[in-house]
């Protein structure tokens, strides 16, 4: 989609007014995914700066779907475009992409945000390919700003900020010449503002008619869904005790679990520990795991590779325990203890019990 743009005499280019900011809402297990609420709150902030409406789009089927979507009004969402069909109960790529593409072509928002979930990372690229627009994956921040291309200045362009190159660089990506600008955003990165609590604040549901062909639009058949509850919810944890390869032994892991139990913390690990099969991926903090910002993060035997730091650097307090005084983790820690995890942790448990 080439953008409808106004060109001023000075060659400045301004986005056509009123084109909305839109958020794709993931609806699973009869509720709206947390990441979608996070994006609605970020979308609200962007829409206010642009002085345009905040809208949402939802695809699916469920008894409570409409009721839940109406509540998005309490987060500042004006309207929700809904494609509801029994065959869309479970996500599959082709019909979901068709529903979103047709709606976006009609509504023409200027910004579209998706959660960087397995659904969002499957759907968004397919949609961007059909619309021939830009898409930036796994953003950790979104801002508005100017961008110049060949002497033309684009105002209020979406600045999409993401780690790249294994987390070793942070890139700012723009796509001002094509509309919409699309981005996926990692879960847990944006904050949820509390809802207004006023039931009068209702999002208007706009039913979108998309014609599906049963024989060609549903090439994937979901045969079975195997639910495995997340055994740990690191995002909600106030205190996290995390183990790296320097604490991956059976003995050290037992001490870490004991410390976590005593101080009321969750146990997390770095990626190599997951790769070694010691704990599951749902315990992993870092770029390819969960992003956390607890009040206290105790990093035990974690060297502090950039991929790990990307997922925990915003913790309010960080205690690092490592034998290597040069370990990069000390550069972001508030408290550093140079020593062996197996010596230090029992002392912490003892000190806490005797406090």
């Amino acid at each position: 989609m080439r953008d409808e743009i106004h060109k001023t005499k000075k060659g400045h280019i301004i986005m056509k007014k009123n084109k909305s900011v839109m958020v794709f809402i993931e609806y699973t297990e009869e509720s709206i995914a947390e990441v979608s609420l996070e994006l609605v709150c970020k979308g609200k902030e962007l829409a206010e700066k642009l002085q345009v409406p905040l809208e949402a789009i939802a695809v699916g089927f469920g008894a409570n779907l409409r009721r839940e979507l109406i509540k998005l009004g309490q987060y500042g969402c004006k309207s929700v475009y809904l494609i509801e069909d029994e065959r869309l109960k479970h996500f599959t790529s082709v019909p979901y992409a068709k529903a979103v593409v047709e709606t976006l072509q009609r509504v023409q928002p200027q910004i579209v945000l998706f959660g960087a979930t397995t659904t969002g990372r499957d759907l968004a690229p397919r949609v961007a390919s059909a619309l021939k627009c830009g898409l930036t994956a796994d953003c950790t921040d979104l801002q508005l700003g100017e961008h110049q291309i060949k002497g033309q200045t684009f105002h209020n362009t979406l600045l999409q900020i993401r780690p790249a190159f294994g987390g070793n660089i942070v890139a700012t990506i723009v796509s001002p010449e094509h509309s919409p600008s699309m981005a996926t955003v990692r879960e847990g990165v944006m904050r949820i503002n509390p809802p207004s609590g006023n039931e009068e604040h209702r999002a208007a549901i706009v039913d979108e008619k998309v014609c599906f062909d049963s024989s060609s639009d549903f090439p994937s058949e979901v045969i079975e869904i195997i639910k495995s509850e997340r055994s740990v919810d690191l995002k909600q944890a106030k205190i996290i005790v995390a183990a790296g390869m320097g604490a991956a032994s059976h003995e050290a892991m037992a001490l870490i679990k004991e410390l976590a139990r005593v101080i009321g913390a969750e146990v997390a690990v770095s990626r190599p520990v997951v790769d070694a099969g010691i704990l599951g991926h749902d315990h992993q903090v870092g770029q390819t795991g969960t992003t956390v910002r607890p009040t206290l993060y105790i990093a035990c035997g974690i060297s502090g590779q950039i991929q790990h730091r990307a997922g925990m650097a915003e913790s309010k307090r960080i205690i690092a325990i490592n034998r290597d005084p040069q370990a990069p983790i000390f550069s972001i820690a508030h408290y550093g203890i140079v020593g062996d995890v197996k010596d230090v942790i029992p002392k912490m448990i003892k000190a806490y019990k005797n406090k």
Binding site: H90, T92, S93, V94, T117, T118, T119, R121, D122, L123, A124, P125, R126, A128, S129, A130, K132, C133, G134, L135, A137, H147, A164, F165, G166, G167, N168, V170, T172, I173, V174, P219, S220, E221, I223, E224, I225, I226, K227, S228, R230, I263, G264, Q307, K316, I319, P328, F330, S331, I332, A333, Y335, G336, I337, V338, G339, V344, K347, A351, K355
Partner: protein, 304 residues
């Protein structure tokens, strides 16, 4: 892209990428100012593309007539991943290489790959790695599927069954909520995660056969088939050269290739620098740790 009821050969395409080894940054790659010097990083076969190739090879073990083509887009040096694919068991390989493809974002990359896949003709399955470790976008697979107008199943951690007669594949994909068993008719593009398998090593026999294989450009304007220094008349099913295709070979529109065809632009790159912090060093003895715990309790960071 319709498939006849019965065909003698199952056609599988595997997309591969040569990437800098971003996960093992050591030694010279770290500059004194704390930033990464990308130019000295070694290049490797993108790890999850090896998992994609392995799924294709596992299928070929069950269906020996299956034919696997590995394809990569990149500079001539990217031939390394194609050689590596041949060592492991790919039947044919294609290098998609042209300066006009350079600077492509995922949209322009998927367009160029689509043109190459179409030149390869009818196919049943495309296996891609879930994502590449340099960009970590996971976008090229789904975008290639969209451009080819075929189905996609992403984040696949297991191929459950392949029904050659019925032309269907059943896979397990992992999600935030657990796993899904999904079945699709051919043709379909599957993106494979690292938990799907342990890629096999190169075969010593195939390494001997292919270690110095050269490339041969099929572009008419290209007169450098002299690059094909390695000429051996290997009997079928072995190939004698790596096919090199450029923009004209795959009939791509230059306006939507490379930097020209990329809607996303990089506005700014910041190197992540290890910032020195004023970490308060605590002694590891009972006294030091006790004082630390007391401080955290008094600040209500730890429960009292």
């Amino acid at each position: 892209m319709t498939r006849k009821k019965v065909r003698p050969t199952m056609k599988i395409i595997v997309t591969t990428k040569q990437v800098p080894d971003t996960h093992n940054i050591v030694g010279d790659a770290m500059r004194p100012d704390g930033t990464v010097n990308r130019s000295v990083l070694p290049t490797i076969f993108n790890p999850e593309d090896l998992n994609a190739l392995e799924e294709a090879l596992k299928l070929k073990e069950k269906i020996p007539s299956a034919h696997i083509t590995a394809i990569t887009m990149g500079p001539p040096k990217a031939m390394d991943v194609l050689r590596e694919s041949l060592y492991r068991g790919a039947d044919d390989v294609v290098l998609l290489s042209d300066g006009r493809f350079a600077g492509a974002d995922t949209l322009a990359t998927s367009y160029a790959l689509k043109c190459a896949v179409q030149k390869l003709g009818v196919f049943d399955l495309i296996f891609c790695g879930r994502q590449a470790i340099d960009g970590d976008t996971a976008q090229v697979g789904p975008q290639l599927a969209e451009k080819l107008g075929i189905n996609q199943i992403t984040n696949v951690c297991e191929v459950v069954t392949v029904d050659e007669e019925g032309c269907t594949i059943t896979v397990k994909r992992s999600t935030e909520y657990g796993e899904e068993i999904v079945k699709s008719k051919f043709p379909v593009l599957i993106t494979v995660t690292s938990s799907a398998n342990d890629p096999r090593p190169a075969s010593a026999k195939r390494m001997m056969i292919y270690k110095s294989i050269g490339k041969k450009s099929d572009a008419v304007s290209y007169t450098d088939s002299a690059e094909l220094a390695w000429t051996r008349d290997l009997p079928a099913p072995y190939i004698n050269y790596i096919k090199e295709w450029n923009l004209e070979s795959v009939d791509a529109d230059p306006a939507i290739c490379g930097l020209n065809g990329s809607p996303t632009k990089v506005k700014k790159i910041q190197n992540v620098v290890l910032v020195a912090n004023e970490a308060k060093m605590v002694s590891g003895d009972d006294e030091g740790i006790s004082a630390l715990i007391k401080e955290l309790v008094s600040e209500h960071i730890l429960a009292g």
